[in-house]
C-alpha cells in the first residue's frame, strides 16, 4: 500500500476499533496515566514556581543583582523596559560611634521602596511593633538589638556614621533578607541610601556590595534573568535564596524530593497500567492479525498498521490527558489555594509537553516489543489458532520507565532520587516476581479434587502461572503505592514536621568564656530550662588542602570563593553531635583520638574536599594539619548549634575558645534571659523565634502541597489495580460461563472468583506491605534524612487492605459473571 492509503486505512481501522470498544481499556489507561503525570507535572511546576516566589520574600526581591559597583544605566534601562520595580542597596562593614564608644557594624543603605518582597518589622520608640514595607527615612537609622546592646543605645540617640549624624529611630526586629549567620557576630545598622554620599564612606577601595533588587511579573523576571545572566560583569552575580538561607534550603530540598518521589511513583504506576492494557488488547487481536494477513497484508504492513494505531491513540490520549490534567490540577489548587497563596504563576512549557511525551514513550516501550511478535507470525499459523507466545523482553519496558523517570528527575532536578528509585523499583519488581512465581509453583502442587470454593480459588490462580505472576506484580505495585501514600506518607510528613519540634531552640547564646560555662549552665537549669550543651569554638582559617594553598580566586562559584575567604568556627567533640549523620568515613573513638577532621558534606562539596584529604587550618598563627576522616550531613533546619568542621577534643581541646549554646525559651520568660545577661554582661543572646516561625510555616505549606499531590498518585494506584483486574476479565468471564453451563451454582461461581481475588489480594498486599516498609526506610534515611519510626503492622495491614481492595474492585466483575446468561459467554468465547 502507498503511504497515504496506509494512513487512511489505519485511521479507518482505528475508528472502527474505537467504536467497537476494543481500544477503550488501553486508551483509558493511557489517558488516566497522562492525566496523573501531567497534573503532577503542572502542579509540581507551579508549586515550585510559587515556592520560588515565596523564597524571593527571603531575598526581599525576585531577582537580586549584586556587584562591587552600582548597577549601570543599561541594566536599569532593561529593568524599566520590562516594567520591573527596582530598589538599590549598599552593604559594607564600618564603625558606628555613639556616646564615645565605637562598634563595628554591617551597614545597609536602602533606597525608597525597600523591601520589594516580604516585610520589615521594627520596634518604635513607643515600644510598638510595626510591620510592613518600611525603610528608614533620610536622617534616620535603625539598629538591631546587638548594636543597641553593645553601644547601650536608646531610641532617639544620635549616631555618628562616617561624617553624617543619624537619629536612631527604630530597633530592627526582622528584615526579610537578613542572613542567619549566627557566627558572624557583626551587628546591623540600616539607613536611607540618600544619606550614603554624605557619610563620605564611599571611597576607592571601600568594600561595598551594591545590590539592585528587582521584582515584577514572573515572566518578565525570568526574561530579565535570561538577559542578565550572560552579561554579568566581573565581580557581579545573581543571588539566590538557597545559599543565603541553609535552613530554608533544607526545607525546599525535602519538599522537592517529596514531590519528586510522588511524581516518580505515578510514573511507575502509569507504566504498569499501560503494560497491562496493551497485553489485554493484543491478546484479543491475534485473530484480527490473522484475518488481515490472509487478506493479503504483509507482516510489515500489519505491524505498521498497529504501530500507527498506537501512535494515533498515544497522541490523542496525550493531548486529552494533558488538558484533563490541567483541569485536575486547577481543582487541586482550588482545594489548597489559600494555602499556596494567590495568583500562582502559569506552568512552563515542559509541563505542557510532559503529557504527550509520556504517552508516546510509554507506548514505545511497552507496546512495540510485544507488537514485534506480529512480524514473526504466518497467516496460517494464526488461523490454526496457534497463537504466538508474546515474549515481552524486560529491556524495552525498563528502558521506557527509565526514560520517564529520567524526564521527571530532570524536572525535579535530582539525579540521585531517580537512581534510588529506579534501583529500588527494579529490586522490588524482581523480588515480587520471584516470590509470586514460587507461590504459584507451590499452589500448582496442591492436590486437586474435593469441593469447589476457596481451595479452587487458589488452584485456579496457579493454573494461569504467568498471568498470576504478572497480576501479583502489578497489584503489589499498586498496593505498595497505596500503602506508601497513606501510611508511610503520614509517617514521613509527620517526621518532617517534627524535625522542627515545638521546643526547637529559639535562643542562641554566644561568647561564653570558659570560666563562665558552669555558671551559665547552672543559671539556665535553675530557670527550669533543660541543661544546655555548650559547644566550644575557635576561629580558624583554612590555608591548605593537600599541601596546596587555598586561593579563593581559583574557585568557580561565588559561594566557594566566599567560604574560602572567611574564617571558620572550628569545634571539637568526642561524640557525633545530635542532629548530625555520618555520610562517609567513620567517627573517631571517644578517648585518645589522633588528629583528624570531620567536615560537613555540603561544605566539602563546595570546596572540593574529599574523604582522606589533608587540611591545614591556621589557628592564631599556628598551623594544624590533619586528614579528613568523616563527612557529616547536618540538619540545618533543626536549629541546633552546628559546625562545618569538627576535630577530636583530645587534639584541640587546649585551644583558647569561647562557647556557644542554644536553648528553647518558652514564651513570656524574657526575664530568664535578662537575668543571664545581667550576670554575664559579655554574653550575646540572639532571638531566632521569627526565623523558626517562618521556616515552620514554609514546611507546613509544603507538606500540604505534597499531600494534595499524593492524592493524585493514589488515583494512579487505583488505576493500576483496575487495569490488573481488567487484564484477566475475559478469561474469567469465559471460565465462569463454562462453569455455569456445566451446572455450577451462582454461589459456587461467586465463591471461586471471590476466593481467587482474595488470595491474589492477600499475597500482593503482603508483598506490598514489605515493599512499602523498605521504600519508607530508604526514603527516610537516604533521601530525607529524617528519623522514621515505621508502622510494624504494615505487612499485615497490606494483606488486609489487599484482600479488601482487590475483592471490592473485582465485585463488578463478579456481578457481571453471575448475571450474564452462560450461553452469551460461551458464544463470545
Amino acid at each position: 500500500m502507498k503511504g497515504w492509503r496506509r494512513l487512511v486505512f489505519a485511521w479507518r481501522f482505528a475508528r472502527r476499533e474505537l467504536v467497537a470498544g476494543e481500544l477503550t481499556v488501553l486508551a483509558l489507561a493511557l489517558v488516566v496515566a497522562v492525566v496523573a503525570m501531567a497534573s503532577v507535572a503542572f502542579f509540581s511546576d507551579r508549586v515550585e514556581r510559587s515556592l520560588t516566589l515565596q523564597a524571593s520574600q527571603l531575598l526581599a526581591a525576585d531577582l537580586v543583582y549584586s556587584a562591587d559597583a552600582p548597577a549601570d544605566a543599561a541594566l536599569r534601562q532593561q529593568a524599566a523596559h520590562r516594567q520591573l520595580a527596582a530598589v538599590d542597596s549598599a552593604t559594607f562593614p564600618s564603625m558606628v560611634f555613639a556616646g564615645g564608644q565605637a562598634q563595628l557594624a554591617t551597614f545597609k543603605a536602602v533606597s525608597n521602596g525597600y523591601p520589594l518582597r516580604g516585610a520589615v518589622t521594627i520596634r518604635r520608640a513607643d515600644g510598638v511593633l510595626v510591620n510592613g514595607v518600611l525603610h528608614p527615612a533620610p536622617g534616620e537609622a535603625w539598629a538591631d538589638s546587638r548594636l543597641i546592646g553593645r553601644l547601650k543605645l536608646k531610641l532617639g540617640d544620635t549616631l555618628q556614621v562616617g561624617q553624617r549624624s543619624l537619629t536612631l529611630a527604630g530597633e530592627i526586629v526582622r528584615e526579610p533578607d537578613a542572613t542567619l549567620d549566627l557566627y558572624n557576630f557583626v551587628p546591623r545598622l540600616m539607613f536611607n541610601l540618600a544619606d550614603l554620599p554624605a557619610t563620605g564612606l564611599v571611597q576607592e577601595g571601600s568594600r561595598i556590595r551594591w545590590r539592585l533588587m528587582l521584582a515584577g511579573e514572573p515572566d518578565r523576571v525570568e526574561a530579565m534573568r535570561a538577559w542578565l545572566t550572560p552579561r554579568l560583569p566581573r565581580g557581579a552575580r545573581l543571588e539566590n535564596v538557597e545559599e543565603a538561607r541553609p535552613e530554608v534550603k533544607s526545607a525546599l530540598e525535602r519538599a522537592r524530593r517529596f514531590l519528586g518521589m510522588t511524581a516518580m511513583l505515578t510514573v511507575a504506576l502509569a507504566a504498569a497500567a499501560v503494560a497491562l492494557a496493551v497485553r489485554r488488547y493484543l491478546a484479543r487481536h491475534w485473530q484480527s492479525v490473522a484475518v488481515l494477513r490472509s487478506l493479503g497484508l504483509t507482516s510489515g504492513e500489519v505491524w505498521r498498521l498497529f504501530a500507527g494505531l498506537f501512535l494515533l491513540v498515544g497522541l490523542a490520549a496525550g493531548v486529552l490527558g494533558t488538558v484533563a490534567g490541567y483541569a485536575v490540577q486547577q481543582l487541586l489548587l482550588r482545594l489548597a489555594g489559600s494555602l499556596l497563596g494567590e495568583g500562582l504563576p502559569q506552568p512552563g512549557w515542559f509541563a505542557w509537553a510532559m503529557g504527550p511525551t509520556a504517552a508516546l514513550v510509554l507506548l514505545a516501550g511497552l507496546a512495540l516489543p510485544p507488537l514485534a511478535a506480529i512480524r514473526q507470525v504466518s497467516a496460517l499459523a494464526v488461523l490454526r489458532a496457534e497463537l504466538p507466545a508474546t515474549r515481552q523482553g524486560f529491556i524495552a519496558p525498563l528502558l521506557a520507565v527509565a526514560v520517564l523517570l529520567g524526564l521527571t528527575a530532570w524536572q525535579i532536578g535530582d539525579a540521585r532520587l531517580a537512581a534510588v528509585w529506579l534501583g529500588g523499583l527494579a529490586a522490588f519488581l524482581a523480588g515480587v516476581a520471584l516470590v509470586a512465581a514460587l507461590v504459584v509453583w507451590l499452589a500448582r502442587r496442591l492436590p486437586a479434587g474435593g469441593r469447589v470454593g476457596w481451595r479452587h480459588g487458589v488452584a485456579s490462580l496457579a493454573r494461569r502461572p504467568w498471568l498470576a505472576v504478572i497480576q501479583i506484580v502489578a497489584l503489589s505495585v499498586g498496593l505498595m503505592a497505596l500503602l506508601t501514600l497513606t501510611v508511610v506518607r503520614a509517617d514521613l510528613i509527620g517526621a518532617w514536621q517534627r524535625s522542627i519540634p515545638p521546643d526547637a531552640p529559639n535562643r542562641f547564646v554566644i561568647n561564653i568564656q570558659p570560666p563562665q560555662r558552669d555558671g551559665v549552665a547552672d543559671q539556665l537549669a535553675q530557670s527550669g530550662l533543660t541543661a544546655p550543651v555548650l559547644s566550644p569554638m575557635v576561629r580558624a582559617r583554612l590555608t591548605e588542602i593537600n599541601g596546596t594553598a587555598v586561593q579563593p580566586n581559583r574557585y568557580e562559584s561565588d559561594q566557594a570563593k566566599r567560604l574560602a575567604e572567611r574564617e571558620f568556627n572550628l569545634s571539637w567533640s568526642d561524640a557525633l553531635p545530635a542532629g548530625n549523620r555520618l555520610s562517609g568515613g567513620a567517627w573517631w573513638p571517644a578517648k585518645r583520638a589522633k588528629p583528624q577532621f570531620s567536615v560537613e558534606k555540603g561544605l566539602a562539596k563546595t570546596l572540593g574536599i574529599k574523604l582522606g584529604d589533608v587540611l591545614t587550618f591556621d589557628i592564631g598563627g599556628t598551623p594544624y594539619e590533619a586528614r579528613v576522616t568523616s563527612l557529616r550531613e547536618v540538619a540545618w533546619d533543626s536549629f541546633r548549634v552546628n559546625f562545618f568542621v569538627i576535630a577530636p577534643a583530645s587534639w584541640l581541646g587546649d585551644q583558647p575558645a569561647s562557647y556557644i549554646t542554644s536553648f528553647h525559651l518558652p514564651p513570656d520568660s524574657e526575664e530568664t534571659v535578662n537575668a543571664l545577661v545581667q550576670r554575664f554582661p559579655n554574653l550575646t543572646v540572639i532571638d531566632v523565634t521569627a526565623i523558626i516561625d517562618e521556616v515552620r510555616a514554609v514546611v507546613d505549606r509544603l507538606a500540604r502541597a505534597v499531600e494534595a499531590m499524593f492524592a493524585l498518585a493514589l488515583a494512579a494506584g487505583l488505576l493500576v489495580l483496575w487495569a490488573a483486574l481488567a487484564a484477566t476479565r475475559d478469561e474469567r468471564l469465559f471460565d465462569a460461563g463454562l462453569m455455569r453451563a456445566l451446572g455450577a451454582s451462582r454461589q459456587q461461581v461467586r465463591g471461586v472468583v471471590l476466593s481467587e481475588l482474595a488470595w491474589l489480594g492477600a499475597l500482593a498486599g503482603l508483598l506490598a506491605g514489605l515493599g512499602a516498609m523498605a521504600l519508607g526506610t530508604v526514603a527516610a534515611t537516604q533521601l530525607f534524612n529524617l528519623p522514621l519510626t515505621l508502622n510494624p503492622w504494615l505487612p499485615l495491614l497490606g494483606m488486609g487492605a489487599g484482600m479488601l481492595v482487590v475483592t471490592l474492585s473485582g465485585w463488578p466483575l463478579v456481578r457481571t459473571v453471575v448475571r450474564t446468561p452462560p450461553s452469551a459467554v460461551l458464544r463470545a468465547g
Binding site: 479434587g449 493454573r463 456445566l742 446468561p821
Partner: protein, 221 residues
C-alpha cells in the same frame, strides 16, 4: 424433555429479529433426536434454550418433568450439574486446566468424593489415559473433543446436548468422535439432542427435526 411453542426474538438497533418461532419438540429417556439446519437457522439458539442456558421470548420448556420457567437460575444450574452434559463445536475446554482437571471440573462442582478416580476412568474410556496431564493446547482437535466427551459423560448425564460436535474436525476424526459419542450414549442410556448440518450424521438418531428460518418441522425417522 418437552418444549412447546418456543420463540426467541432479539432487538438490535431498534429492529426486532425473530430467530425462532413456535418450535415444539419432545424427547424421552434414552432417545436421540437430531436437529438439522443450515448455519444461521437458529440451531444453536434452540439448543441454548432447551438446555436452559438462555431464556425464550415465548413458550415453555420442561426438563425431567420440571418447567424451566418455574426454576431459578441456580435451580437450573443444579439440574444441569446433576443430569445434563454438553459437547460443543469448539470444544470449550479451559485452556489453563489439564485434561484431567477439565474432566474433574463438573465433579468438583457437585462435590463428588471419588472425583479423581472417576475422571481418570472416564478419560481411559475415551482412550486418553496416557494424556491426563496434558493441556488442551498440546492436544489435537480430536483429542480435545474426546476430553470434552469425557467431561460430558463423567457425571453420567440423563441428557446430552451436542452442538456440531464434529464441526471443527476432519471427516475421519469426526467419524471416530461420533462413534465414541453413540457408544457412550448407548452404554449410559443417555438421551441425546444432536445439532448438526450433516444429514448422514442425523440419520443415526431416532428422530430428525429440520430448522428452516427459525421454523422447526417434522419428526421424520
Amino acid at each position: 424433555m418437552a418444549a412447546s411453542e418456543l420463540g426467541k426474538q432479539v432487538s438490535f438497533n431498534g429492529e426486532t429479529l425473530t430467530i425462532l418461532r413456535s418450535a415444539t419438540l419432545s424427547l424421552f429417556e434414552g432417545e436421540s433426536v437430531a436437529i438439522v439446519g443450515t448455519s444461521g437457522s437458529g440451531k444453536s439458539t434452540l439448543l441454548s434454550l432447551l438446555a436452559g442456558l438462555d431464556y425464550p421470548s415465548s413458550g415453555e420448556i420442561a426438563l425431567f418433568g420440571q418447567r424451566l420457567s418455574g426454576l431459578s437460575e441456580d435451580q437450573r444450574a443444579v439440574l444441569r450439574r446433576d443430569k445434563v452434559g454438553f459437547v460443543f463445536q469448539n470444544f470449550q475446554l479451559m485452556p489453563q486446566l489439564t485434561a484431567l482437571e477439565n474432566v474433574l471440573l463438573p465433579l468438583e462442582l457437585s462435590g463428588r468424593r471419588d472425583a479423581r478416580e472417576a475422571a481418570r476412568a472416564m478419560l481411559e474410556r475415551v482412550g486418553l489415559g496416557h494424556r491426563l496431564k496434558h493441556y488442551p493446547k498440546h492436544l489435537s482437535g480430536g483429542e480435545q473433543q474426546r476430553v470434552a466427551l469425557a467431561r460430558a459423560f463423567v457425571i453420567r448425564p440423563k441428557l446430552l446436548f451436542a452442538d456440531e460436535p464434529t464441526g471443527n474436525l476432519d471427516p475421519a476424526t469426526g467419524r471416530q468422535i461420533i462413534d465414541l459419542l453413540f457408544t457412550l450414549n448407548e452404554e449410559e442410556g443417555t438421551a441425546l439432542v444432536l445439532v448438526t448440518h450433516d444429514n448422514e450424521l442425523a440419520s443415526r438418531c431416532d428422530a430428525i427435526y429440520r430448522l428452516v428460518d427459525g421454523k422447526l418441522s417434522g419428526a421424520g425417522r
